[in-house]
């Protein structure tokens, strides 16, 4: 048996105090209760009054109340209908969605997103497979992107890596000094930078710098219909936009990683020679002995994978933009966060793989 509806009179004028009282009164009802707003005394509504009444009704319905309107005068009805005709529908609150429905909806959305990523990966790989000719890679655009993503990023990558090397050496020195093994700071810094820190620092900086720019550029092109315009001209957005950006990252990130490694080692060298009196020749000699070519190659392989991840995540987030400039902002943030998480996850997988395979 349904509960008795409760009647709430709406005052003649919905001024601030009356509005607050009405909201408080509605909040006092339990979910599922039926409340009839008696509008008999409400003779006319100005814009602010209508906005307040609509807000109260929407808020109560969102909280699960069954709100109905009684004795609505023609003028008030017209005013409300102009703003939101649906508000006059005396519908019961929608039942909560079943958890299985929620899970199913999320699963379908995830499957759609996975399908879009798979299609992007497939199309990019297909375009990369044709390096030359009229339908080949746009090398001019790729060079432009290399300058933006690579050359322009050198100062920040080198600067940050130098500082990381410096910090690594300082922290390592505190521990190794207890064993009289401060010279092994050179090993610590060189191997850490080459295998892990160099590629990862570069990836994080490039994600923030280039990944965001890619998502923002493509997202803006989506909302200004530039991507649609390309499609109607039978031009592939993947060939024109995605491939040059991904390829530029694949070429420049290993180079940036090498620079990051060198800068980090120089940071450690600066601490070793200046602060720890290790001697320049001794430090460099220890570094050369500690580093194997496999350490450097491991980092370079990682950097290529990170480049692909950053490029594809940025472009995918850009293409997924729907709406206006706010959506571009969200896509940009999402591209950076997702790319950084993806790179860290990939790095963990690589490290585990190389550890197991020796």
């Amino acid at each position: 048996m349904s509960p008795e509806p409760s009647l709430l009179p709406v005052p003649t004028r919905l001024e601030a105090e009356a509005y607050r009282r009405l909201r408080r009164a509605l909040r006092g009802h339990a979910r599922g209760a039926t409340v009839v707003l008696d509008c008999e005394r409400l003779e006319a509504l100005d814009a602010l009054g209508a906005a307040r009444l609509l807000r109260v009704i929407a808020e109560a319905r969102a909280a699960g109340l069954d709100v109905r309107l009684a004795h609505l005068g023609d003028a008030v009805r017209r005013t409300l209908a102009e703003v939101d005709p649906a508000i006059l529908d005396e519908e019961r609150p929608r039942p909560r969605r079943h958890p299985l429905e929620v899970i199913g909806t999320h699963a379908l959305d995830t499957a759609d997103a996975a399908g879009a990523v798979a299609a992007l990966v497939h199309d990019t790989a297909a375009e990369l497979a044709v390096p030359f000719g009229r339908r080949g890679i746009k090398w001019g655009r790729t060079l432009q992107q290399m300058a933006l993503a690579g050359a322009d990023a050198v100062p920040i990558v080198v600067g940050m890596s130098f500082l990381i090397g410096l910090v690594l050496a300082l922290n390592g020195a505190q521990q190794l000094r207890q064993f009289g093994a401060t010279i092994f700071i050179a090993n610590l810094v060189a191997i850490s930078m080459a295998r892990e820190m160099g590629p990862l620092i570069t990836a994080i900086l490039v994600s923030g710098r280039t990944g965001s720019a890619i998502a923002a550029e493509i997202g803006t092109m989506v909302i200004s219909e530039e991507i649609d315009a390309m499609r109607t001209m039978a031009l592939s957005p993947v060939r024109f936009l995605v491939v040059p950006k991904v390829l530029a990252l694949m070429i420049t990130m290993p180079l940036l990683t090498v620079m990051s490694n060198v800068a980090g080692i120089l940071g450690g060298y600066a601490i070793g020679v200046v602060a720890l009196d290790l001697g320049s020749d001794a430090y460099l000699s220890q570094t050369v002995q500690a580093l194997f070519i496999s350490d450097v190659l491991t980092g370079l392989v990682k950097s290529v994978v990170f480049a692909v991840l950053i490029g594809l995540i940025g472009t995918h987030r850009g293409f997924a933009v729907r709406g206006g400039p706010e959506a571009v902002g969200r896509a940009t943030t999402s591209a950076v966060v997702t790319a950084i998480i993806a790179c860290i996850l990939a790095n963990a997988c690589f490290t585990a793989f190389f550890y197991v395979t020796g």
Binding site: M221, S224, E225, E226, D228, A229, R231, T232, M233, A234
Partner: protein, 279 residues
């Protein structure tokens, strides 16, 4: 018009399309022949632009077919679709020029991609196309440096870059001053005068409709509610058609009749005669 039995330029058959749960177009059928201008009328949100998106394959229909020179764009392979789209030029409502390229590079882009010409020749051709729409000398400007009317004209020049058989125009004169709007109407008529091109223009500008339409269809809520010559559409008994032609809501709730609209557009010089003929 074409010879009897020839393949029409564009055939839309019983098209149903929409976004998400919303059906925007329902049961749309139309034919466009070479050498004619079909004007698609309707108020904002009636599905006119969605129709254009379906024609160029940007939106896959839920059912129905779009045939361009007899080829179904939605059933075509990627390579076949490319061939079909080379026959179609679409001018977007906001022009949709690529902001990272100059105006000339925008127009040259499809030429470079689809014709066997070098970049310098393509740019030369692009400047010629721009001159044709009254933008000689604007080729080196970036799209952000162009006015609204110039951007629209550049968008039309890009749509005409490959000399398509079918030109689609989305609100070509919306939001423009009367002189620029009239210039664009004349441009559209000049394309038609060249012969074999078929044009579909989506618009709700009464002045343009009267100037350029050979035939018209009128949309309301995603359905065609009137079709035929402009006179036939204007005489359709549907009250939405009558409301569209008799009254036009303007800022400040002023309303203009068609006659007043034409007066407003060009001082009534040429259109009085046309209007008189219709009356």
């Amino acid at each position: 018009m074409t010879d009897a039995g020839a393949t029409p330029l564009l055939v839309v058959e019983d098209l149903v399309a929409g976004y998400g749960d919303e059906v925007v177009l329902e049961g749309i059928s139309l034919v466009v022949e070479p050498g004619e201008i079909l004007v698609v009328l309707g108020s904002t949100g009636s599905g006119k632009s969605t129709l254009l998106r379906c024609i160029v394959g940007l939106l896959a229909p839920r059912s129905g077919r779009v045939l361009i020179r007899g080829r179904d764009i939605n059933a075509a392979s990627d390579r076949e679709r490319e061939g079909i789209l080379r026959d179609v030029g679409l001018s977007f409502q906001e022009a949709a020029l690529l902001n990272s390229l100059t105006t000339a590079e925008n127009v040259a882009l499809p030429i470079i991609e689809h014709w066997d010409v070098d970049e310098a020749t393509a740019l030369m051709l692009a400047r010629m196309r721009l001159a044709r729409v009254g933008l000689a000398g604007a080729g080196e400007k970036m799209p952000s440096e162009l006015s609204g009317g110039m951007r629209k004209r550049a968008g039309i020049a890009r749509a005409m870059a490959l000399e398509p058989a079918l030109l689609l125009l989305d609100e070509p004169s919306a939001g423009l001053d009367p002189i620029t709007a009239r210039a664009i109407d004349e441009l559209i008529l000049s394309f038609k005068a060249r012969g074999n091109i078929g044009i579909v223009a989506v618009t709700h500008e009464l002045g343009s409709i009267n100037t350029i339409a050979d035939r018209a269809i009128m949309f309301a809520a995603g359905r065609i509610i009137a079709a035929g010559t402009l006179a036939q559409v204007r005489d359709a008994p549907d009250e939405r058609v009558q409301a569209f032609f008799q009254r036009r809501l303007l800022p400040g709730n002023q309303q203009r009749t068609l006659a007043e609209e034409l007066e407003w557009r060009d001082g009534g010089r040429s259109d009085r005669r046309t209007l008189g003929a219709e009356e």
